[in-house]
């Protein structure tokens, strides 16, 4: 009896020591993200990221790539310009690519996004039309689940269940909701619902003589400010993070509310006149681009542009008007779990390129342990959960180089967190 008890005690101590590791690093101040020079050394980035210049105007974006990491360290990467998934081994070296465009059940009709690993066994992908394809970790297609709504976020849970942030347009309103779905049975439980009107708020709209509509977003229409974020907790539950209020709700995979707390990140930043002017100047740049285009446009295109510019000018003042801004920025800009089960909650910052996070132990979620930030001298850190993933004490990222002259500015990288 003594030996198993000793073993369990040692394991427990080991777990505690491990769980303190990253928080110890955070406690010591800003964390320098040190690139692992031995990661992905065999990769030819020009060959692998051949689509880097695919432009959004063509419905693609070669720089927009997302990753998920399997328990064995294998990295799956999706591209906003391909109907396939790239696979990298645990050392970051390219292994293979799988999946293709097509109409069969195992094909990608629309370009997919990798969204998680279900039950340590299946890679889950999602697409705009609600088709979620599941593959085994060798890239062999297993199952397609079709949703009758648009999936905006996902989290893989325990018991072969996964959560989806769904979006549908009804006749007179928009419905946003969170559903938990069973991979085996397809059963679905809606655990959170939100309705809003169809009117397009926070945007500038112009109409062209040929019947087209141009829409420009105003600052706070972007979904990242309001949409709840879906996270998988260390024990396979679902955490719903509400950026506006700082509220976090934890649900079991069966949809039972287990915890609801508010994590304040500190004093919320007040939006200044200078920041509104910066937005207005950005809109002016748009206007100048259109005016430049007008100088060479002819025929119907010219008529459309003239009317668009005229209507845009009438409304551009909205970018300066405080009525189109909240008084303060939202409570949370981003949230994630690290590999030591700490919850990292990021605040908005005064300066661009900065980040600041509060960290909490998942087991004691209400109590803040401390705050810190991540720094990198080589990369503009993007802290999105699809581009910055904790794995066994390190961070695997698909990140942009600061060097703007780099031919291939996007890299798959592993960061060690320097103490």
């Amino acid at each position: 009896m003594k030996k198993p008890a000793l073993f369990i005690a040692m394991l427990f101590c080991g777990m505690i020591a491990n769980s303190q590791n990253l928080s110890d690093i955070y406690q010591k101040g800003p964390v320098l993200m040190k690139e692992d020079a031995g990661f992905g050394t065999q990769n030819n980035w020009e060959k692998l990221f051949y689509d880097i210049d695919a432009s959004r105007e063509q419905g693609e974006d070669g720089k927009n790539k997302a990753i998920v990491v399997a328990p064995d360290g294998t990295i799956f990467m999706s591209h906003r310009s391909r109907h396939s998934i790239s696979v990298f081994d645990k050392n970051g070296n390219f292994a293979k690519e799988f999946g293709k465009k097509g109409g069969r059940e195992s094909d990608f009709v629309y370009m997919p996004y990798v969204v998680g690993i279900l039950g340590d066994k299946y890679l889950a992908t999602s697409a705009v039309d609600g088709r979620m394809l599941f593959f085994d970790l060798n890239g062999k297609w297993v199952k397609t689940i079709k949703l009758d709504y648009m999936p905006l976020d996902n989290a893989m849970l325990r018991n072969n269940k996964f959560a989806i942030l769904g979006h549908t347009s009804w006749k007179s309103k928009i419905r946003r909701f969170v559903a938990i779905k069973d991979f085996n049975t397809g059963d679905e439980t809606i655990i959170w619902d939100h309705f809003e009107g169809m009117e397009i708020k926070n945007s500038i709209q112009t109409r062209t003589p040929s019947g087209g509509i141009n829409t420009w977003s105003l600052p706070f229409s972007h979904p990242s400010y309001t949409q709840p974020k879906l996270l998988t907790t260390p024990d396979g539950n679902l955490a719903l993070v509400f950026p506006g209020t700082g509220e976090i709700k934890v649900y079991s995979p069966e949809g039972k509310l287990l915890k609801s707390i508010v994590l304040a990140t500190g004093e919320r930043l007040t939006i200044t006149q200078g920041e509104r002017e910066a937005y207005y100047n950005k809109a002016l740049e748009y206007l100048k681009t259109m005016e430049k285009e007008l100088s060479t446009a002819k025929g119907t295109k010219r008529e459309n542009l003239e009317q668009t510019i005229s209507q845009f000018k009438q409304q551009i003042g909205k970018y300066l008007d405080p009525a189109y801004y909240p008084e303060k920025l939202p409570e949370i800009s981003q949230a994630m779990f690290d590999s030591d089960n700490n919850l990292l909650v990021f605040a908005f910052t005064k300066e661009s390129g900065e980040n600041k996070f509060m960290f909490y132990s998942y087991n004691n979620l209400g109590e803040k342990i401390g705050s810190s930030s991540f720094e990198s001298d080589k990369y503009n850190l993007n802290l999105s959960n699809s581009k910055f993933v904790f794995f066994k004490g390190d961070v695997i990222g698909v990140q942009m180089l600061k060097d703007e002259n780099s031919k291939i500015p996007v890299r798959l990288v592993r960061f060690g967190l320097a103490k």
Binding site: G59, D129, D153, G211, W216, H222, S224, P330
Partner: protein
């Protein structure tokens, strides 16, 4: 964003029957080179047409195929191709129409899950850009979307 729209079933049939305008006819090979789905549809449609032609042709009976108990060559009158009456043709056409419908329904079910609206496509693009909110704020991100008179998204810019 340019939409590379797939052809309708009618357009495919018109194309195979060479009944499209010259301009539209030229667009087809360009689209087929890029769209596996339409290529598959057109191949299937061609197969059905071949099947129909074969079914309606009535194969000639070769002399060597004449076997006992006749022992002798069939008289010319007996070796004439079988005449297909209108009712028989109608039955074949009905079966073909049924099979094509089943195929098209299955294909539609296979490829279509949810049809997002133009506004939802914009929301999707913004969300899947993968930027955290702090970055969106500091970049002063403005998303522009252009829809045509049919309400289809023809261009999206996120700057």
């Amino acid at each position: 964003m340019k939409t590379n729209k797939c052809f309708s079933d009618n357009e495919i049939q018109f194309y195979l029957d060479s009944e499209l305008s010259a301009e539209s006819h030229q667009e087809f090979p360009k689209h087929l080179a890029e769209c596996e789905k339409c290529s598959t549809r057109i191949t299937e449609q061609r197969r059905w047409i071949e099947f129909v032609h074969t079914s309606l042709k009535g194969e000639e009976v070769e002399k060597d195929m004449v076997i006992p108990p006749f022992k002798k060559e069939l008289s010319p009158a007996k070796s004439k191709p079988i005449k297909l009456n209108f009712r028989f043709l109608l039955k074949i056409a009905a079966v073909i129409a049924l099979l094509v419908s089943v195929y098209l329904i299955a294909e539609k079910k296979e490829t279509q899950a949810y049809q997002p609206t133009a506004q939802e496509l914009l929301l999707w693009e913004e969300t899947m850009q993968g930027d955290d909110a702090n970055q969106v704020w500091h970049d002063r991100t403005i998303t522009a979307v252009e829809t045509n008179s049919a309400g289809e998204v023809v261009n999206i810019e996120i700057n």
